[in-house]
């Protein structure tokens, strides 16, 4: 059995790894020269409800990626406004570590390979086409191409291309394969009725910050200072993807997190204004390069899916990560990607695809998001274990648990502990 995964971000890596663990031959196609996509500039794990979700997934048997992340973690168990017990992984080393692991697992990865079209016949995908006209055939396909960019969308719905880590100009823009296969994309909206949402953080070169700030970041993982009154723009929060960070504190304070770079928890910040702050006199952006002006636009390319992660209207296409809904974050991508990888293999074997139980946060979010985006108001929301409306839901339903043993027992009682370790072929 051959599983073709398109898009090598966190969701694609999780899907490829899961399909491989199930026993399939897996080929992963990535447009750029690096895996992890936006995960190369992320870094926040286990904050708030993400702790529960990570532990649930580990108990279910999808522990591989979390082990690598843990090895690459710079700071453990830190707090910052609105967020508890976060881990911060080092974005400068994570990709190479994940890449080695996937390759050593026997996954074939094709880098700098851009998928542009599909050969579809009666709801069944026969092959995907690459830009050079070559085709890649598989029994089942998983699309994890994300929803960020490309340049034209960042121009139309944002403030232009900000030269982010996705590097569309160098490698070419992503293409929505589900839409090419005839299934219309769902587009997210902002409160002001405009489509899309803007990425919510940018990275500063740590070396360009003062020694005092660097020392504090190295020691504590967090540095917080006040935003000058004239630079407070709460309206910027409405544009943000990351509603868990769209808190008042994030407009009034400059919050830096140490992820190898200094992660600045705002969409963009004019360079001249930023340099007025003490210790920021020499500061420069490292991602996006034009972080003084803009950031990438996301959520313009989601495929309708069921709760097994299969695309509605196509027999053999599964989705994960942002492609599968209004999910924010790496943990959410790993959850949805893993389920997509698992069910893709089951579907080819003729087995019934599974849904994760609602009594677990990882199952509930997939169903809740799917219900949510059926109406216009739901399309303005983002779904993450880390905050905003969904974290409140987790707390009210008693899904937010930080006792690892309790999570293990809960999964064990459901008799699904270790299912993601089972070989199906």
């Amino acid at each position: 059995m051959r599983v073709v995964v398109v898009g090598g971000g966190w969701a694609g890596c999780a899907a490829a790894l899961q399909a491989k663990k199930c026993g399939a031959d897996v080929i992963l196609i990535e447009r750029t020269d690096m895996l992890l996509g936006l995960g190369n500039v992320g870094g926040i794990m286990r904050n708030n409800g993400r702790f529960t979700a990570a532990e649930e997934l580990i108990a279910l048997g999808a522990d591989d990626l979390f082990k690598i992340i843990e090895r690459c973690t710079r700071h453990k168990n830190i707090d910052f406004p609105g967020h508890k017990h976060a881990d911060l992984y080092d974005v400068t080393i994570i990709e190479a570590n994940i890449r080695r692991y996937l390759l050593s697992s026997g996954i074939e990865i094709k880098f700098e390979t851009r998928a542009v079209d599909v050969d579809v016949e009666k709801n069944h995908i026969n092959a995907i086409y690459l830009q050079d006209g070559q085709s890649i055939e598989g029994d089942v396909y998983i699309e994890t191409t994300g929803s960020t960019g490309p340049m034209g969308n960042c121009i139309r719905y944002g403030k232009g291309c900000s030269m982010c880590i996705l590097r569309c100009p160098a490698y070419g823009p992503r293409v929505s394969l589900s839409q090419r296969a005839g299934v219309e994309d769902i587009l997210a909206m902002r409160d002001d009725g405009i489509f899309g949402a803007m990425s919510g953080s940018c990275k500063l070169d740590k070396n360009s910050l003062s020694e005092e700030i660097r020392s504090e970041l190295d020691a504590k993982g967090v540095y917080i200072t006040d935003v000058p009154k004239e630079d407070i723009h709460p309206e910027k929060l409405k544009m943000k993807v990351c509603q868990q960070y769209a808190l008042k504190e994030f407009a009034e304070k400059v919050i830096l997190l140490d992820t190898g770079h200094a992660k600045l928890m705002t969409s963009y910040y004019p360079l001249e204004n930023l340099r007025k702050l003490k210790g920021f006199e020499n500061v420069r952006f490292i991602d996006p390069y034009a972080g003084g002006r803009a950031n990438s636009i996301r959520y313009l390319s989601m495929a309708p899916r069921d709760n097994t992660m299969k695309v509605v209207g196509l027999d053999n296409l599964f989705v994960g990560g942002e492609k599968s809904g209004l999910f924010v974050g790496h943990t959410e991508a790993i959850v949805t990607g893993t389920l997509a990888g698992y069910n893709a293999v089951r579907s080819v074997l003729g087995l019934k695809c599974i849904e994760l139980p609602s009594s677990l946060a990882v199952g509930d979010i997939i169903k809740y998001e799917n219900e949510g985006k059926k109406n216009k108001k739901g399309l303005t929301k983002r779904y993450t274990f880390a905050g905003s409306e969904y974290f409140e839901r987790m707390k009210s339903l008693g899904l937010y648990i930080t006792d690892v043993e309790e999570i293990k027992q809960k999964v064990s009682k459901l008799m699904i502990d270790g299912i993601f370790k089972e070989k199906l072929i």
């Binding site: 830009q131 006209g133 232009g160 100009p169 070419g172 293409v175 587009l187 489509f195 313009l300």
Partner: protein, 329 residues
């Protein structure tokens, strides 16, 4: 079958063009009155961004300029070889697969302009060489030129399926040519030889002893042979050619074949070879009638897979054009 979408002008000095300005861009979905990106062929620049940065206006069009003729050689009553001194810029830009220009006699109005392929370029002399066959009013006027000529360019869509020719390194390419249509194959040979490709050129003798491009193919190191490829009485391939092509294909790995003749010639050869080996990619010279060269006038429009395309700017897969039209998929 993979249907590629490619505008030859995308990302060039002439992009965005009038099509983009009016919401008819060949590539960019944002400039086809859609509201999201669906970019099927990326050439390194975002056309949408370029248009906005250019004040939502098309870039300046190519214009006719007068150039001096270096030499005119009459090869046959109806066949002329022109060498024209042009700017360094034009030489550089025309040293590409499928390069052509529109030319006309200086006194004539613009609608006398006719598309002519570039056969050769010379950087040192800053000249371009074109083989011109006299067909009718426009080319008769051109044949009368001896001192100056008007040229508008550069254009590049003289060869379809160019993506199969680009990036070839250290491999074999077969060129099958007939008549004046074989001339773009010379420039293709020049480009392919830069990357150590081995070129076999089988040229149809036609009415002459050898094809007029023969010496140019040899100049660039192609293995050239003149023979009768098509028997125009039976309208089928000659036994001599069938024997020859079978031998070449069986003893060499040939990933790409450029067919460089008229439409009947191209169709006959592509259909024959495709039956022998359907893994071979084809490029073909572009024989469609062109008038403006900018995708505006519509004279080069053809129908492919229920869609109309402007073949002066848009690339297609020659297999799709020649095989499907023949009903011989």
């Amino acid at each position: 079958m993979y249907r590629f979408v490619e505008c030859i002008d995308a990302g060039s000095d002439f992009c965005p063009c009038h099509l983009a300005e009016k919401g008819e861009c060949i590539i960019c979905s944002q400039l086809q009155n859609k509201i999201f990106c669906d970019c099927l062929y990326w050439k390194g620049t975002c056309i949408y961004q370029e248009l906005i940065n250019n004040g939502n206006k098309a870039k300046k069009n190519r214009e006719y300029k007068k150039y001096n003729i270096v030499s005119v050689k009459k090869i046959r009553d109806d066949l002329y070889l022109f060498e024209v001194k042009v700017t360094n810029y034009l030489v550089r830009e025309l040293d590409n697969f499928g390069a052509f220009v529109f030319i006309k006699k200086p006194q004539n109005p613009d609608y006398f302009g006719t598309p002519i392929s570039i056969m050769d370029v010379d950087y040192e002399k800053s000249t371009i060489t074109m083989l011109i066959k006299v067909h009718g009013v426009k080319t008769k006027d051109i044949a009368e030129c001896s001192e100056n000529i008007m040229i508008k360019g550069p254009y590049w869509n003289g060869i379809q399926g160019q993506r199969f020719l680009r990036n070839l390194k250290n491999t074999n390419v077969l060129i099958l040519g007939r008549g004046v249509a074989a001339s773009p194959g010379v420039l293709a040979t020049r480009r392919l030889k830069l990357y150590d490709n081995n070129i076999f050129a089988l040229l149809d003798k036609g009415r002459s002893q050898e094809n007029a491009c023969t010496s140019y193919y040899k100049k660039y190191g192609a293995n050239v042979e003149n023979l009768n490829i098509v028997n125009y009485k039976t309208n089928y391939l000659t036994d001599d050619f069938i024997d020859k092509i079978d031998k070449i294909l069986s003893s060499n790995k040939i990933p790409v074949i450029l067919v460089a003749g008229d439409d009947d010639f191209n169709r006959l050869l592509i259909n024959y070879i495709y039956k022998l080996n359907n893994k071979i990619y084809f490029a073909s010279v572009n024989n469609h009638i062109m008038c403006c060269g900018e995708g505006v006038c519509g004279s080069c429009q053809i129908k492919l897979s229920e869609k109309y395309i402007r073949s002066c700017k848009q690339q297609y897969n020659p297999i799709e054009y020649y095989l499907m039209e023949d009903g011989n998929k």
